[in-house]
């Protein structure tokens, strides 16, 4: 006992030093994990954004001046785009057999349909300055289908014809597609939709305890879609 009292100051100082070093170590570890998580989610965001851009740039390909190259995106009550159906054409030059059993003869045209479906996955609770907030996460399912074009029209695929073509990501916290007219205004008219404005945000696969702090990476793009600048009707007459 006397020995403890003799070295009380040393013990207190030693304990303080050990606690300080442990706290520093914990902070360092936490910071490292956060960096890795952020880097991972950023990489995923960029790859997913690249997939979306590829799809958007293909919209209306080989459809000429036909402006009916996608359907109006369907938005749910949370502001997310839950459905988006768009298409392009492909003319067969050498015996074309498409997945789903659709066969197109040489010289015939196939309509390539692509559909995005936003499927809810987990719910996460986040601490915000206004209190805990629940956020619905979602996965984007991408499906494709092919139908034959007859007299420049093609039927919509039946549900059975849609096939999953996975370019997917499972931790979307927000996904929205809007049509913009040539003045940058949001429009609901497919006819007037000259630009597609896509926004989404992605969260990491896991949340950092104990703060439960979420890093939400936001990505957006605005792209001019086909037909690019079509000649006016007076020029073609």
């Amino acid at each position: 006992m006397i020995s403890i009292f003799d070295h009380l100051s040393s013990i207190l100082i030693g304990t303080a030093v050990i606690l300080v070093l442990m706290a520093a170590q914990f902070k360092s570890q936490h910071s490292g994990i956060e960096q890795v998580a952020t880097h991972g989610v950023k990489a995923k965001t960029l790859v997913f954004g690249n997939w979306i851009e590829r799809d958007i740039l293909e919209i209306g390909k080989n459809l000429g001046l036909n402006r009916y190259r996608f359907k109006e995106p369907v938005t749910d009550s949370l502001g997310n785009t839950s459905r988006f159906h768009f298409f392009s054409d492909s003319t067969c030059t050498l015996g074309c057999s498409f997945p789903g059993g659709v066969n197109i003869a040489v010289g015939d045209t196939a309509r390539l349909h692509t559909r995005y479906k936003l499927m809810p996955t987990d719910r996460v609770e986040l601490d915000t300055p206004d209190g805990p907030e629940e956020r619905q996460l979602a996965r984007l399912d991408r499906e494709v289908a092919v139908t034959k074009v007859t007299n420049e029209t093609a039927p919509d695929p039946t549900e059975a014809q849609w096939q999953s073509d996975l370019w997917s990501i499972g931790t979307l916290s927000f996904f929205n597609i809007r049509m913009l007219d040539r003045f940058g205004r949001i429009t609901n008219s497919v006819e007037q939709g000259d630009y597609i404005f896509v926004r989404f945000s992605v969260v990491p696969e896991w949340l950092l305890d104990p703060e439960n702090y979420i890093r939400e990476i936001y990505w957006s793009t605005t792209l001019k879609i086909r037909p690019y600048w079509d000649p006016p009707t007076s020029a073609s007459s």
């Binding site: 100051s9 040393s10 100082i13 030693g14 303080a16 030093v17 300080v20 070093l21 706290a23 520093a24 902070k27 360092s28 910071s31 956060e34 960096q35 952020t38 950023k42 965001t45 960029l46 502001g79 916290s173 927000f174 929205n176 007219d181 040539r182 003045f183 940058g184 205004r185 000259d194 630009y195 404005f197 926004r199 945000s201 890093r215 990476i217 936001y218 990505w219 957006s220 793009t221 605005t222 792209l223 001019k224 600048w229 079509d230 000649p231 006016p232 009707t233 007076s234 020029a235």
Partner: protein
């Protein structure tokens, strides 16, 4: 006495390590936020650039001028000179809405916003949240689509430089992202724009027809 000194030294060392660790964490945190802002700013810059390219190439190729002239300009001869006061005439803040051109219809051609400084732009996040940025825009004629050689004389190509600055308190960065694009004159686009806004050229009584409406005696 020596024990106390050693204890003090240990405490000092531990404090220094802790302080250093805190500084590194702060730096890493700021770098992470900057990364996120960069990604959001790049989408905003792309949007701004697309909306600039959506405008008419020059004042003389705007729908009204095309309608009045009875046709689209055939060549660069009539385009606004780079030294002319008309070049960049709507560069004051608020003159040109960089996100939604339809809100500022007077700012209708690419060079109108030359010299714009600190124009507000934003990335719209989920739940109505926003990340606010400011944008600077510079427009110059270039001799070729490669955009290397600038000139004041009118050509068929204009290089647009958009620089986005972050105003975020955690990472205020000047020039967080800079994008450049050469926009070339496209007579088909000018023709299409004119017809969409004014109807076919020569149409009397159309929305752009400024001729007298008083019937001739």
């Amino acid at each position: 006495m020596p024990q106390s000194l050693l204890g003090l030294l240990a405490l000092t060392l531990a404090s220094l390590i802790s302080f250093n660790q805190q500084r590194v964490t702060q730096q890493s945190y700021k770098a992470t936020i900057r990364d996120e802002l960069e990604l959001a700013a790049s989408g905003t810059a792309q949007h701004v650039m697309e909306m600039i390219a959506a405008r008419s190439f020059d004042e003389v190729s705007t729908p009204t001028k095309v309608f009045d002239a009875g046709g689209v300009p055939r060549g660069a001869g009539l385009f606004t000179n780079g030294n002319n006061a008309e070049f960049g005439r709507y560069s004051r803040t608020g003159d040109c809405d960089l996100m939604t051109p339809g809100n500022t219809p007077r700012c209708d051609d690419v060079d109108d916003m030359d010299g714009t400084r600190g124009a507000p732009v934003k990335a719209i996040l989920s739940d109505g949240r926003e990340l606010r940025f400011t944008a600077d825009v510079d427009v110059q004629y270039v001799t070729d689509p490669g955009g290397e050689t600038t000139t004041n004389s009118p050509t068929l190509h204009k290089r647009v430089d958009v620089t986005i600055d972050s105003q975020h308190p955690a990472a205020p960065v000047q020039g967080i992202i800079a994008v450049s694009r050469v926009i070339s004159y496209d007579p088909i686009k000018a023709d299409m724009d004119a017809e969409m806004e004014c109807g076919p050229i020569g149409l009397e009584g159309g929305p752009c027809d400024n001729s007298s409406t008083i019937p001739s005696q």
